[in-house]
């Protein structure tokens, strides 16, 4: 589950905003998508760190339950990422996560697990940039693949699975991103579909449902090229199947709200940060954990 979010993040990390056309577009977009290359940039490398805690979960009837006393989950993640422009309008990114988790449950002792996560490769191709064509938004195609380099849940060695760091299967993603700048305001939307390959779980053929993620964001660029953005991400997934049959009550959804900011530290270095929360409200989630946390990133770009 986390790996699909990772894919979305990775896909959003790349792009080709056109500096000459809209400086506000670049600054605004980078608040939501930290790793996006500006038009004058050919590559970047970066480190993103994330810390979050689960404050509850949404059950199969879409009711929210706060984390019970005695239970706690803290997740930490460090992502190494690198982007490169392959063609004028297209670029690719590789993202390598490393995860740590601290978990405690009323019936189990606290434990710490860590490990390499699932490697993600993604690409973006911009057919049009924002304001390039007066009557069209910026339109980009997105594609990605996540490889099961992490440890699947069944392969975890700790009782609460803190050392499970991967989904255990290959994930293919494809989508479209739209954006339009209005003076200092950038409005963007991303739709992304994900398909997970079936896998064998203790002799059964398990396959997660197809997933659709929708992200909407509004960014505002400040005069110093810093920017702020508010985004809402909805993730919807169909029912899972077991041995070819859909399992009732297993569809999932989650809504995440984030406030992000970006600030250039020099001509080639910029910093990003965000806070996010899955609101503790019924019907906003189903069969999902609810988390809150923050991210920080530092990126070095190469013109």
């Amino acid at each position: 589950m986390k790996r699909v979010t990772l894919t979305l993040v990775a896909l959003l990390l790349i792009g080709t905003p056109r500096r000459a056309l809209a400086q506000a577009c670049c600054a605004g977009a980078s608040a939501v998508t930290p790793g996006r290359l500006a038009l004058h940039e050919d590559a970047l490398v970066g480190l993103q760190v994330q810390a979050g805690t689960q404050h509850g979960s949404y059950d199969s009837e879409a009711h929210f339950h706060a984390t019970p006393p005695g239970a706690a989950v803290w997740d930490f993640e460090q992502d190494l990422l690198a982007s490169a422009r392959l063609v004028r309008r297209g670029q690719a990114t590789v993202l390598l996560p490393f995860l740590e988790a601290w978990r405690r449950a009323p019936a189990s002792a606290a434990e710490v697990g860590y490990g390499l996560g699932d490697l993600n490769l993604s690409a973006r191709y911009d057919f049009t940039w924002s304001r390039e064509v007066s009557y069209l938004p910026g339109i980009a195609a997105l594609a990605g693949i996540t490889l099961p380099t992490g440890r699947a849940p069944e392969s975890a060695r700790l009782p609460l699975g803190s050392d499970a760091t991967g989904l255990g299967t290959v994930v293919f993603t494809a989508g479209v991103a739209l954006e339009r700048a209005f003076d200092r305001v950038l409005v963007s939307a991303t739709l992304l579909g994900a398909k997970r390959l079936p896998r064998n779980v203790h002799g059964a053929r398990s396959e997660l449902g197809s997933e659709l993620s929708a992200l909407g964001a509004v960014s505002y660029s400040l005069p110093n090229d810093a920017s702020l953005a508010l985004s809402v991400n909805g993730r919807f997934e169909g029912p899972a199947s077991l041995d070819g049959s859909n399992v009732p009550g297993t569809a999932r959804r989650r809504v995440r709200i984030a406030l992000a900011g970006a600030m250039p530290l020099s001509e080639t270095v910029r910093a990003h940060g965000s806070v996010f929360v899955d609101p503790p409200l019924d019907w906003l989630g189903k069969n999902e954990s609810a988390s809150a946390g923050l991210t920080m990133a530092a990126l070095w770009t190469f013109p």
Partner: protein, 148 residues
């Protein structure tokens, strides 16, 4: 370290649960979709040949973390405890498409009593305890629990 629950306490809990179950005469625990409703601790096997009651420790129903279960398996036609069955249990989280890092151990205590150790439910959400009777007959039953 796993929490050790005194066997007497577990069996007392099981006895109370069994009595309550018999009073309520839960003949079939399957809902309209053919699935066991969440939280049910007494059900019939898929073939209808066995009735199974479940008691759990450290809580009345399974919780996040490591659990121990007591199963009482009875033959529906005679009401006798079903001895000598070979049971296997796999905890599975269908919405997440994954199982548990631990495979539970099942011990036959005689007279249809089965102790299941190492039932590890790693995260909140809907879990299934998919249980197969492998021998001498073949049957299947699944308990479902929403874990917070």
């Amino acid at each position: 370290m796993p929490r050790i629950v005194p066997r007497a306490l577990t069996l007392n809990c099981f006895a109370l649960l069994t009595a309550a179950t018999l009073v309520t005469a839960a003949c079939s625990a399957h809902d309209a979709r053919g699935m066991t409703p969440n939280g049910v601790t007494s059900l019939d096997s898929d073939s209808g040949a066995f009735r199974v009651n479940l008691a759990s420790a450290p809580a009345a129903v399974p919780v996040r973390g490591k659990n121990q279960l007591e199963l009482r398996v009875m033959r529906v036609d005679s009401g006798d405890g079903a001895e000598g069955l070979k049971l296997t249990m796999l905890p599975f989280m269908p919405a997440m498409g994954h199982g548990s890092p631990a495979v539970p151990d099942v011990f036959d205590r005689g007279d249809g009593h089965y102790h299941v150790d190492d039932v590890v439910l790693t995260m909140p959400g809907l879990w299934e305890l998919q249980t197969t009777i492998e021998a001498p007959e073949h049957d299947h039953f699944t308990f479902r629990f929403e874990i917070e």
